[in-house]
Amino acid sequence: MTVAIETRGLTKDYGGGRGLFDLDLGVAEGEVFGYLGPNGAGKSTTIRLLMGLIHATRGTASIFGLDSMRRSVEVKRLVGYLPGELPQFGGLRGRDIVGHFGALRGGVDQRRVKDIAERFDLDLGLRFREYSSGNKRKLGILLAFMHRPRLLILDEPSNGLDPLNQRELHELVREVRDDGATVFLSSHVLSEVEHVCQRVGIIRHGRLIEVARLEELHRMHVRRVEVGFAGAAQPQLFVGLSGIEDLQADGHRLTFTVRGSFEPVVEALAGHGVVDLVSREPTLEEVFLAHYQDGPKEAQG
């Protein structure tokens, strides 16, 4: 299988422990790869190295076998890129921006532009300064997807999108994957990555600490649960249950962390006067703390 993205010992050292260190990563063609990490972990640095926007301190990065810095122009012909935030285009209208970037790529597929603009309900007749942050994001998505690239590099693509448009974006990602494109998608939201990705890499403090298939990720799936009982809270129901941690009872309420499957929890609660149950996704930092509290282990490629 062709390798879409490959990095070997890729490092960008900003000093003071900041940057990206010794990244060895491979993403196969046709794969949707999620790149997870909290803010400041090094996700954008990785993406900017792949795009040839910044120079590596050491190591290499290649896209479809082409060095991302030395053969930058050839690489960009194959790539659609969505930056973390779109720059200002002032008084230019959306259609001008799309026309300009389309022309730089050798021409615009108007049907594709129309299709994406309609799906996201994006009016290209407005001036850039008139766009809301969500509409600017949609314009960025259009610029990244409009030329049907072989590889999409998306930096936190759903930031600023409402749930409906997030769903549309996930659908679009699945469509391009089905058409054979590769997607490298960074995010700090676990659930977003779960929607679309087949494999996930987790980065923290500039180091890749895990690369796993999505199903493997579920073993680190952690939920924080709060249960309200009609009577007094019954912590004894969970004693000895695997995956239950940090159990705390307070009057009628019980809070605990569930790691892995939810089924034993539901079975244990059945028939015990549960009046309220709230389960929330922990922040990525909480996941890290729960999963890597013994210290990070290095990823194996």
Binding site: L53, R77, P87, D96, L104, V113, D123
Partner: protein, 542 residues
């Protein structure tokens, strides 16, 4: 707090106008004896020449008072012009406080944090008032500092009064721009409107000063009240009423702006127009100008470029139209004619046109270069270059297209300068060789390219520093060119100034070495830019 805000928001302007103002007034003063001579007779002749020249520019700057003295000379030669430039700065600052922070989303955050709208106007306004006062004071202190070395009266009190009057007038300009910026929906309209109103008030003052029947019009212009104080010159007067009136009117206007700011929505102006319903556009533009990076750049700045061209064209026509009356007056006084011929040799009309009009055209092109570099800097820091490089566009291509965009833009302005001058020459009946005017106009282009080459080199590596660097460099180069002959500096020092390299090609045979030097600066600048751009890391959205 106010002091910190003043420094944080306006440090570049304060350094530029404060330190720059001090240095400019000091060095102008240092050359006073070289320009005016050391005897009472030569200084009186010098004063008459300035009086004479001033008549032609009465619509722009007030009549000089005792220009044969250091204080009078500086008040006319430096402070009057500086006040106009600083008024533009004040106008832009007023619009920036009114709408700039809002566009960046800061106003929304501050209001959400519990700051009142009144405070959002009053605190930065007070800060800018302090900045203006400091800049005006340092500007006049240069005159006081240099006076003993040229055997002149320091006139400390008079100069401080002049600074206070300038600061009050400029603060009024700031308040006007702040008030006007509340009206339109968009910031760029607010900037055009705010600065446009100040330019209009300058014109109104000019009309009032030159047309007796319209003298009453002057009362509406802060320039009129600011110019009432002439205490920078010995024997001049300090109009305390006008100065205090300007300050009071400024605060009243700022206070009146508060309800307007409260009344309008954030992101909208007081004047709103209903948007017509129309079908959403879902297709990309087919505009041919968008196909290349350089043509997209030119197309995007088409309105601004048209303004530069028209402004230059108009200025050229204006300067040609005043040349005959100026030279007639010069020739009527043998002493003056001799003085002028010593400074600017050659047939008098051609020499004057080359000295006055093409001297201004050089400044216009230096200004255009700074604006263009500022645009590149904003694009770079704002992440636009990053997005451009995400398309199949190489880093060298970005630089080459910038060179092309700048070369074409500056060439269009140079063409405007030529048309404005050349078309008016026959109507003005000037005895000037059309071919020489064409050559002088054409040589403006390598001058602009030299500045552009330096600008693009700096912006390719240090985008944040490019504008202050180039603006400072242009100012130093200008003063070097202006002062080198007066200070009798060696030729190699004078030749460090691109202004000096340009010379006066309307009367002198063009120096092809100078042309080659300017072209080499351009080529070297862009070559350096290519190397620097290859090596650097690009920033995203700042």
């Amino acid at each position: 707090m106010i002091g910190w805000m003043a420094w944080r928001l306006h440090r570049r302007g304060l350094i530029g106008f404060g330190v720059g103002g001090f240095l400019a007034s000091f060095f102008y003063g240092a050359t006073f004896l070289q320009a005016a001579g050391t005897t009472a007779a030569s200084q009186a002749a010098f004063g008459r020449s300035i009086d004479l020249a001033a008549r032609q520019f009465a619509f722009l700057v007030p009549a000089p008072v005792h220009p044969e003295t250091l204080g009078g000379y500086e008040q006319y030669k430096w402070l009057a012009g500086a006040a106009i430039v600083m008024m533009l700065w004040a106008g832009i600052a007023g619009v920036g406080v009114g709408r700039g922070d809002e566009e960046r989303g800061l106003t929304e955050q501050w209001i959400a944090a519990g700051l009142s709208r009144a405070r959002l106007l009053l605190a930065p306004s007070t800060a800018f008032g302090l900045v203006l006062l400091t800049a005006c004071l340092t500007s006049v202190l240069g005159i006081v500092a240099v006076a003993p070395s040229v055997h002149q009266d320091p006139n400390l009190v008079g100069e401080l009064e002049k600074a206070a009057s300038m600061a009050a007038g400029l603060f009024a300009g700031y308040a006007i721009a702040l008030a006007v910026s509340q009206l339109p929906a968009e910031r760029h309209t607010a900037t055009a409107l705010g600065v446009g109103v100040l330019v209009l008030l300058l014109v109104v003052n000019g009309i009032a000063d030159t047309v007796d029947a319209a003298a009453w019009l002057g009362v509406v212009s802060p320039f009129h009240w600011m110019n009432e104080t002439t205490s920078g010159a010995p024997g001049g007067r300090f109009d305390a009423g006008a100065t205090l009136g300007l300050a009071a009117a400024s605060f009243l206007l700022i206070a009146a702006t508060i309800p307007a700011f409260r009344r309008r929505d954030i992101g909208r102006g007081l004047i709103t127009s209903g948007r017509h319903a129309r079908a959403a556009v879902r297709v990309a533009s087919r505009n041919l100008a968008l196909r290349r990076v350089f043509s997209e750049g030119l197309w995007e700045q088409r309105t601004g470029l048209a303004a530069w061209v028209l402004g230059t064209l108009f200025l050229g026509a204006l300067m040609v139209s005043v040349t005959r009356s100026m030279t007639d007056a010069l020739l009527a006084d043998p002493q003056l004619a001799a003085l002028f011929q010593r400074a600017v040799p050659g047939p008098v009309e051609a020499a004057f046109l080359g000295f006055a009009w093409f001297g201004i055209a050089l400044l216009v092109l230096a200004g255009y270069t700074v604006v263009q570099v500022s645009r590149w800097s904003a694009q770079d820091q704002g992440g636009r270059v990053e997005l451009l490089l995400s398309a199949p566009v190489s880093r060298p291509r970005v630089i080459v297209e910038r060179a092309l965009e700048f070369a074409i833009g500056s060439l269009i302005i140079v063409a405007g300068a030529y048309v404005g001058g050349a078309v008016s020459i026959p109507f003005a009946g000037l005895d000037v060789d059309g071919g020489r005017v064409l050559v002088a106009s054409a040589l403006l282009w390598p001058f602009a390219l030299a500045f552009g080459g330096l600008g693009v080199a700096v912006v390719s590596r240090w985008p944040g520093l490019a504008v202050p660097f180039l603006a400072t460099f242009a100012a130093v180069e200008y003063f070097l060119g202006d002062l080198a002959p007066l200070l009798r500096l060696p030729a190699w020092v004078a030749n460090l100034s691109v202004f000096h390299l340009y010379g006066n090609p309307v009367v002198d045979t063009p120096s092809w070495t100078a042309v080659l030097s300017m072209t080499l600066i351009f080529v070297a600048g862009f070559a350096l830019a290519l190397a620097l751009m290859r090596r650097r890391d690009l920033s995203g959205v700042a």
